[in-house]
């Protein structure tokens, strides 16, 4: 059986592509780092891949607002390819800046059920400036929620991951927030509501969401930065008895889940 192929989409200012690439390779995928210009020009075909990953960074400097220029580019220059990719049931993940892009394209939280006859991607939520009004880098505890998300199947109930962003405060109108709860689209919540446990002031402590199918997933924390246990900020505090056999970091499971999903359903 061939390995699932991941297209890691790059553009000017993308900067978490190498570690995202490492994560997917460790998870057993074949990867390609592809500049969006090469997708737009048709040199690279999205249909040749089973997973689309939009890594973190500052696409186009996050000028105007985080992720907006890449979102516009994707929406308007890759319209059909993107629709086809999603319609084919292929998983999409956006991490940090990638999450910001998915939210601004409207792929997350996705088209409301009431509108499914005439699907049109519109932005219905946003990732606003942190309440602290500055970029912050810190590790946070996440509570894994009951959700259809294919990336978090069987993952630990509590996961510790780093965040590093200035614009990560998830916010949406009340009806959208209610819809997310009804559909179990919240995948991760910050474990506590107070700053800095909730590092950015997100509504309902939301750290990551998926669409109703569970195949499109976006999150502010960085699972690709926790691939081995030595990335954990407290690894020197663990004693031999607390030490598990695995050298794997908790972030890797998210990438493995995607690979396994593709193997089981798409290959």
């Amino acid at each position: 059986m061939t390995e699932p192929k991941v297209l890691i989409l790059r553009t000017a200012g993308t900067n978490c592509d190498a570690e995202t690439d490492t994560a997917f390779r460790l998870a057993g995928a074949e990867t390609a780092l592809v500049h969006i210009q090469n997708v737009i020009s048709g040199k690279v075909n999205l249909t040749d891949y089973q997973i689309l990953a939009i890594p973190g960074g500052f696409s186009y400097g996050d000028d105007i607002a985080a992720g907006i220029l890449l979102a516009i580019e994707m929406k308007h220059k890759l319209t059909d390819a993107l629709h086809q990719f999603v319609a084919d049931g292929k998983p999409v993940i956006g991490i940090c800046n990638g999450f910001q892009v998915l939210v601004r394209t409207g792929l997350l939280p996705g088209i409301p059920a009431s509108n499914s006859d005439a699907p049109e991607l519109v932005q219905r939520s946003t990732l606003a400036m942190n309440t602290s009004a500055r970029f912050e880098c810190r590790w946070v505890d996440l509570e894994t929620q009951e959700s259809p998300c294919v990336f978090t199947k069987g993952i630990k109930p509590r996961v510790y991951l780093p965040v590093a962003h200035a614009e990560g405060r998830f916010t949406a109108p009340a009806d959208v927030l209610a819809e997310l709860e009804t559909n179990n689209q919240v995948v991760f919540r910050y474990a506590e509501s107070e700053y800095p446990s909730n590092p950015n002031g997100s509504d309902a402590d939301i750290a990551g969401i998926c669409d109703t199918t569970g195949r499109i997933f976006g999150l502010m924390p960085h699972p690709e930065r926790f691939l081995t246990k030595w990335n954990h900020p407290h690894w020197t505090r663990l004693t031999d008895t607390q030490d598990t056999d695995t050298e794997e970091g908790d972030g890797l499971a998210i990438f493995k889940n995607a690979v396994n999903y593709v193997k089981a359903n798409l290959l």
């Binding site: 790059r10 000017a12 200012g13 993308t14 900067n15 978490c16 190498a18 570690e19 490492t22 994560a23 460790l26 500049h35 210009q37 090469n38 973190g56 960074g57 500052f58 186009y60 400097g61 500055r134 970029f135 912050e136 880098c137 810190r138 590790w139 780093p162 590093a164 960085h222 690709e224 930065r225 926790f226 691939l227 081995t228 030595w230 990335n231 900020p233 407290h234 690894w235 020197t236 505090r237 004693t239």
Partner: protein, 798 residues
């Protein structure tokens, strides 16, 4: 000659006229240099063009050629007979590296950054630079382009290294400076602080490079001349470390467009600031990190496909320096009208000298040009063929078909007369402070005051604004401990994901000791940088150093005398420890002059030592936070009564005279033994003793780990008789550490350290209480880790 190029009338100029030309053109050339230029062109029978004289001024600037470090110095110490030093750099820096002769040094002092071996596939490059003058005038832009510039140094080393880590050290005026006391024309230290941090944050984070090491210091004398040190480590394939230029290669510029920004940066930074400097807006560059990221993305692909033969960055002096340096061994011909401009209207010399950011110059064999252009197109980066490297040994610059500069490479690079400078050093005598044991038996408030002093206080509010996790490589964070807020001694990264081979980066800087003796200040900076390396699990054996001198005006004999003292220490201590210098830089003329009052302010003589160490297995690294109640606390290394320049004396208004001496034999043995103990798993946590001595070190370890301590000063090993509790607690003697040892490893640890002074002096306790008993048996510190942490975290909280 066209109207765009001016002839500079120097052939018949007298001395006063020559100096007027230098001053009014911001050339920063002295009379001797102007006369050398006059003689050279006299022999040619013509005046130089503006393009030519500007090219020479940039190439000969202190910033580019470091003439002070190469000059002949007549130096006299404490009234003794003078000695002659033929260049501080060759005598004390380069010679140390040559004598130490580490086989893992791949390239030192020759390229844009030093190169050392990493593993079978990769080497590491490391460079630290300063961007002081620009940051004084425009903190955000100055600091941002400082980090942007040093990243390009890595990218311009060998055939280009991938940037993997940033380090930043800042020196500011006191944050509580009253506005009325600000020197005329200077920005408030708080404004400088905020702008510099934001500049480094926005550039480094956008480039996707972890900023994981640094320091922030405060002293009133930095108010008019803040210091901004920016460093970058890069990873480079072993077979991409050499460069050459062949005649016929194309001169290709890649990256941003050229504008009028940053003109005269090199010469501007080679002079003192004064109260009118703030109006020199055009000398500060404008940064665009996304442009630089695109250059990295494009160039590393081109490097891996072997499309170019040489590369350098456009830094100080812009194209004039970049093309001048690359073409030195062969010759070069450049056509300025081909340069891609931000806007019209630049004179040829402005195009040639502009320090517009995010530009690199590469030497491309013509047959590789199409493939290079293809990569640049895919990455949406502009690349322009500016000319050709030749075999004329001349630097020839054209504008719209007309030759505007025609200089011999030999004169440009070797025509600079070697200056002779005078230096004196007179040991100062400061009032001495006695122990306060007679006056008090409680030092709790002193400890809290030390923790709250701005140099020691937590820098978390700054550190959190930097992304330390990007690239997924960090294994020891700058903030460690149970709540991720303790001050790590150094950071550790694994630049090759999946490999256990690690890189430690640390720094040492102690300008306060310069008030006593710059020799001791430099020695302590080296010792501290090495302690920080050892404290997380590194070894002296695989450690290289970088030296960055920030000094006052070296044309003044006393300032230069301080520089000589520091340089001597650099040689003595590095050779004793066996740690070579691989790169360095100096920023002189950090002085401010009030043009109305004539008042002159110099910074404290400041040497930053940056250290880089390769470790075979990051699993052996340790952190400074205490781990388990019941574990034993030891001090390693002798304490002496050395409080001159200490923070303890400082908070009581004294400088004193006994700054920490350096005993490299003792220090080397201590560090070697401790490094081995850590690497054999005997040590649970380790922290070096630096500012604030043992008192501050144990407090930081306790609150970072979330456990209290019960300690007793009775068993602290001392090198001389010390009975005073405050001296024991707060002396800043070099080469000392505090370690946490598990009971089961007690004998093994003590046996291992048998020939090093080591004292067991207390335990970690399962309570927040923090107590220290003095020599006479009574409690001299009684508090809680929460109170200590509060004192430490509050001052620079926001």
């Amino acid at each position: 000659m066209s109207s765009t190029v001016k002839e500079i009338e120097i052939l018949n100029a007298d001395d006063a006229e020559l100096m007027r030309i230098s001053r009014e053109g911001t050339l920063s050339l002295n009379l001797n240099e102007m006369k050398t230029i006059q003689t050279h062109f006299g022999a040619l029978g013509r005046n130089p063009t503006d393009v030519e004289i500007e090219t020479i001024a940039q190439t000969w600037s202190e910033h580019c050629v470091h003439k002070t470090f190469k000059s002949i110095i007549r130096y006299s110490e404490d009234g003794k007979a003078p000695e002659q030093i033929d260049g501080l750099f060759p005598t004390y820096i380069q010679r140390a590296t040559e004598e130490i002769a580490k086989p893992w040094c791949v390239s030192v002092f020759s390229d844009n950054a030093g190169i050392i071996e990493f593993d079978d596939t990769f080497n590491l490059v490391f460079k630290v630079e300063t961007h002081n003058h620009p940051s004084a005038i425009e903190p955000y832009g100055g600091a941002g382009t400082g980090i942007g510039g040093v990243i390009r140094d890595s990218l311009g080393t060998g055939l280009g290294a991938k940037p993997i880590l940033n380090t930043d050290v800042f020196c500011f005026g006191m944050p509580d400076t009253p506005y009325a006391q600000l020197p005329k024309g200077t920005l408030h230290p708080k404004r400088v602080f905020k702008g510099v941090v934001a500049g480094v944050r926005d550039y480094g984070n956008r480039m996707g490079i972890p900023t994981a090491n640094g320091a922030i210091l405060f002293d009133a004398r930095y108010t008019a001349n803040p210091l901004v040190f920016c460093g970058n480590v890069g990873l480079i394939p072993r077979n991409r470390c050499e460069k050459s230029v062949e005649p016929g290669d194309l001169v290709v510029s890649i990256g941003g467009q050229t504008g009028r920004d940053g003109i005269h940066g090199a010469t501007f930074s080679s002079a003192e600031l004064d109260d009118t400097s703030e109006s020199l807006g055009s000398v500060v560059q404008i940064g665009n990190p996304i442009m630089e990221k695109k250059i990295v993305d494009a160039l590393l692909q081109a490097r891996d496909r072997n499309l170019y033969r040489s590369i350098t960055d456009c830094g100080a002096g812009g194209f004039s320096s970049a093309v001048g340096e690359m073409g030195e061994p062969v010759g070069a011909e450049v056509h300025l009208e081909r340069v891609s401009l931000k806007y019209e209207g630049l004179a040829p010399w402005e195009i040639w000298l502009s320090e517009a950011q995010e530009r690199m110059v590469i030497a491309v064999p013509p047959e590789n040009l199409p493939e290079l252009m293809e990569i640049c197109e895919a990455e949406v980066v502009e690349a322009t063929v500016l000319g050709t490297f030749t075999d004329t040994r001349r630097l020839q610059v054209f504008y719209e078909g007309e030759i505007v500069a025609d200089l011999e490479m030999e004169f440009l690079h070797h025509g600079l007369p070697k200056p002779v400078k005078q230096a004196v050093w007179q040991s100062p005598k400061h009032p001495e402070m006695a122990s306060r044991d007679a006056a008090t038996r409680d030092y709790t408030d002193d400890l809290k005051a030390l923790l709250a002093s701005p140099n020691i206080a937590s820098k978390e509010s700054v550190i959190r604004q930097y992304d330390h996790e990007v690239q997924g490589s960090i294994v020891i964070n700058p903030l460690v401990g149970v709540a991720n807020d303790g001050p790590s001694d150094a950071c550790v990264v694994t630049p090759v994901l999946g490999s256990r081979k690690g890189v430690i980066v640390a720094n040492g800087i102690n300008p306060k000791y310069s008030d006593v003796d710059p020799y001791l200040s430099a020695a302590a900076a080296i010792d501290e940088a090495l302690r920080n390396i050892v404290a997380v699990g590194g070894s002296l054996e695989k450690t290289a150093l970088l030296d960055n001198f920030c000094w006052g005006n070296p044309d003044k004999p006393d300032r230069l005398g301080e520089l000589v003292r520091a340089a001597k220490a650099c040689y003595d201590i590095a050779t004793a420890y066996g740690t070579p210098y691989i790169s360095g830089k100096d920023s002189l003329y950090n002085e401010y002059r009030d043009t109305t009052t004539g008042e002159q302010r110099a910074i404290p003589s400041t040497l930053l030592i940056s250290a880089i160490c390769v470790i075979p297995d990051i699993r052996n690294a340790v952190t400074m936070d205490v781990k388990v109640p019941g574990n034993l606390i030891y001090v390693v290394g002798n304490t002496y009564a050395e409080l001159g320049g200490s923070h303890y004396f400082g908070i009581h208004g004294f400088i004193g005279n006994n700054a920490p001496a350096i005993r490299p034999d003792e220090g080397k043995l201590t560090m070697e033994r401790l490094s081995a103990a850590i690497n054999s798993g005997l040590v649970r946590s380790c922290h070096d003793c630096s500012e604030g001595g043992i008192g501050v070190a144990v407090a930081e370890m306790a609150f970072a780990g979330g456990y209290g301590m019960a300690l007793n000063l009775d068993n602290i090993p001392t090198g001389d008789e010390i009975t005073a509790d405050d001296y024991l607690l707060f002396s800043e003697s070099n080469s000392r550490f505090i370690v946490e040892i598990e009971l089961q490893h007690r004998d093994a640890f003590e046996n291992h350290m048998a020939d090093v002074p080591t004292g067991y002096f207390g335990t970690v306790i399962d309570a927040p209480d923090f107590t220290i008993k003095g020599k006479a048996g009574h409690t001299i510190i009684e508090t809680s880790i929460d109170a200590l942490k509060f004192a430490w975290q509050t001052p620079l909280h926001s």
